[in-house]
Symmetry: C2
Subunit: 120 residues, 2 copies
């Protein structure tokens, strides 16, 4: 799959949704020292996609929800293909858990670099 | 924490919710050969709790949602404390993914046995 195909894969996004909520909940739980369960907002994942320079791989009129789906698909793809482990994903987010857009942007950038691709 | 304390820990249940949805989505994805994302219904997790003989550790008037919370708390507790790995959790569920109540009951039973406790 090309990066563009990963980002627009709706099925991957559905699995990614549960993965992203799980890793963010875990990171927040570690930071707070007690278990918490949260859902990551679409706005956060859409902004992170933009910050990681991945948004331009999607069509111009793509809405916020679809941009968030793209982040979710990309992040779970990386885990499924052992590009970034669960542990490392959580640690990356944990470091910036108070600024979740930056946290997810850092994770997306890490994946991008390891996949070794350059955005047009 | 005693099993009863784990089962009624609401904070653990919130983290467990995202964990349970993630492992079930993964198991279903593996079975179908393509990624899917699903939420596990409270009814399923409540029935699994009963089938695993854990329901009686909660007060008699406990509702379905709270019984489901108990399953979620128990399952994520086991992962956090390395009693059952993510991989093994997914494999346990994957084997019975068409009968999710039995799948989760089997996972709960596995945790119970490894924790070595006997229900009153």
């Amino acid at each position: 799959m090309t990066p563009r195909e990963i980002l627009s894969n709706k099925k991957l996004a559905r699995l990614g949704d549960s993965y992203v909520n799980f890793i963010f909940s875990l990171a927040l739980s570690k930071r707070r020292g007690e278990p918490v369960g949260v859902r990551v907002k679409s706005r956060v994942l859409a902004d992170a996609l933009k910050m990681a320079d991945l948004r331009d791989l999607l069509p111009r009129r793509t809405d916020t929800h679809t941009q968030a789906d793209a982040s979710e698909a990309f992040i779970v793809y990386a885990w499924l293909h052992e590009i970034v482990s669960l542990k490392e994903s959580v640690e990356t987010i944990e470091g910036k858990v108070e600024t979740p857009v930056e946290a997810f942007s850092e994770l997306l950038n890490k994946i991008k670099e390891r996949m070794g691709f350059v955005c047009e």
